[in-house]
Amino acid sequence: MIRLENICRDFQVGDQAVHALDHVDLEIQPGEYISVMGPSGSGKSTLLNLLGLLDKPTSGNYWLNDADVSSLDDDALAEQRQQNIGFIFQSFHLIPRLNALENAELSMLLAGAPVAARRERAREVLESVGLATRLHHRPDQLSGGERQRVAIGRAIVMKPGLLLADEPTGNLDSRSGEEVIEILEKLNRDGISLMVVTHNREIGRRARRHLTLHDGKIVRDQGTAS
């Protein structure tokens, strides 16, 4: 499903080039559950941004669903993100002026889906993450765990093949974090590929495949799906 070949991503910090990703090769099969761990600055977030098509590699090739996406222009990348990738952020990134339902609808709105279809689908995903009674609450009326569940609903509303979660439990207490991880794992069991970037070893261990990054290189890759 996903294949990275010889990916490099360099940043210019002052007059020093920093290799955030240094010749990374990676393959991800549909339905995998991967955790990415490593110290700060090891390139975890850069890898996630690249996989999510938010960032472009300095060199190397990225194959998504058998298509080379490393040379696509901005609008085409946006299209790919919309169709194939769901994002979950540490700080939720919900829009405070919109209620849960409207937040969950956003991708479909951008994709130009008709109102009725959006409503229906957003309601469905929010019910699937256990927010049936919270549809019309705005983010400031929701708990942290509920906010992250709205964000998960928003991420899966377009039925993407890949879910990228950057420290999804970082801003949550352990109980809400546990709930969120369980929802993500259930989605994975239903077939979605899940990649979780985390500092939390316990959460990292729950994945079937563990990547460890250090200085922009994948130094360990355990439990590769056969």
Binding site: D55, D75, A78, E79, R81, H93, I95, L110, A111
Partner: protein
């Protein structure tokens, strides 16, 4: 902030054009009161007839206009009323007081045509033009000079060889039209002709029935007098249209000028809009990043900000319209003789300019928003 600046701009347009329009309507209204339907007939054909008339040099061969001409004109269906005018000067005296004075000979209709008002007594009696009655009406200065504080009514004033009984005094009016009404003695036209021993008439004032009838009435007059003068077109007909249209255009320019100034304030509001939108972009960096992550294309982001700008400036414009109209209504209440209502074109243009400048000045911020790097935007940088 943005709403406020736009609404102030629009309100300014509404108010300033309202003032300009109000002034224009006031002046043209005053002019209309002086007789926009007024047609002045001069003896003699002048190729370069000016709008004023009094200074026009008349050819020496001209045939005089007569009271009969005036009566013929009056019979036209398009003419509401006619007042002939004879002007001369004579020596007026009462007891031991004596002075040289301008004498007007006219008829009772002149009071309405010139919108004169009376201070005392009554104006010339309504009778046929060619009947000479020994009565006169005084200008206010003449009255003061001859009679001081005592009532002049019923006194006999001597003018030249004749005497006339004072029956009225004009209100103080200053210069209206070509005359200083304060310094006159007014006689019935036939009496004045006898006094000056001249059969001619200096001018004939005619009023058309309506504004629309002006031009046909003018042609009628020419035809009537031509027929009476053996087919010779030897008169000049002057209307106040020319003067009026000059005033109209001057005030039109002033209004447009004021509107321009107000429009500049809308452009300034546009700069403010740009600032506000730039702040909005930086405040919403994360949201922009999120939308990009959710698959928003650059043009989506641009459209989003432009829509917001148009929406806000439209809202501001509506607010400004309300403000401006409340303001002009208040001003109209404060100065009831002026109508400050802004013309519709100005309101439409104000809203249009507001929305357009809102749109134009938001293009830059919107493009900046669209070009944000999604990764950095999500991180809020």
């Amino acid at each position: 902030m943005m709403l406020l600046s736009v609404s102030i701009g629009v309100a300014a347009v509404v108010l300033l054009t309202g003032v300009g329009e109000g002034a224009r309507r006031y002046v043209t209204g005053e002019f209309a009161a002086l007789g926009t339907h007024l047609i002045i007939v001069l003896p003699g054909k002048s190729e370069t007839a000016g709008a004023g008339g009094t200074g026009t040099i008349i050819g020496a061969t001209a045939r005089d206009l007569t009271l009969d001409d005036a009566m013929a004109i009056e019979r036209s269906a398009r003419i509401a009323r006619v007042a002939p005018l004879v002007v001369g000067s004579g020596n007026a005296s009462w007891r031991e007081r004596e002075r040289e004075i301008t004498v007007l000979g006219t008829t009772t209709t002149m009071l309405d045509i010139q919108h004169w008002a009376l201070q005392l007594g009554r104006f010339l009696p309504a009778s046929d033009m060619d009947i000479a009655t020994p009565v006169c009406v005084l200008g206010s200065v003449v009255r003061d000079e001859f009679f001081g504080n005592t009532s002049p009514l019923g006194q006999w004033l001597r003018i030249g060889d004749t005497r006339c009984r004072v029956i009225g005094v004009l209100a103080q009016g200053g210069i209206t039209g070509p005359f200083n009404t304060d310094e006159l003695v007014i006689l019935p036209v036939a009496s004045a002709q006898q006094l000056f021993n001249a059969p001619g008439v200096f001018r004939i004032f005619a009023e058309a029935v309506t504004q629309e009838a002006m031009e046909p009435a003018r042609r009628d007059i020419i035809e009537i007098v031509k027929a009476r003068h053996q087919g010779e077109e030897d008169i000049t007909v002057v209307t106040q249209d020319a003067v009026l249209s000059t005033f109209e255009s001057i005030f039109g320019m002033i209004t447009i000028g004021l509107a321009g100034i107000a429009a500049i304030s809308l452009i300034v509001a546009g700069v403010l809009i740009m600032n506000v939108m730039l702040v909005a972009v930086s405040q919403r960096t994360k949201e922009i990043g999120l939308l990009r992550a959710l698959g928003a294309k650059q043009r989506h982001i641009v459209a989003l900000f432009l829509t917001e700008a148009v929406y806000l400036s439209f809202l501001g414009a509506l607010l400004g319209l309300i403000l401006g109209n409340v303001g002009s209504t208040l001003m109209t209440l404060a100065f009831p003789f002026l109508d400050f209502t802004a013309p519709t074109w100005a309101m439409t243009a104000a809203v249009g300019i507001a929305v357009t400048s809102g749109l134009l000045f938001s293009i830059l911020p919107a493009r900046r928003a669209a070009r944000l790097d999604p990764v950095l935007a999500l991180a809020g940088r």
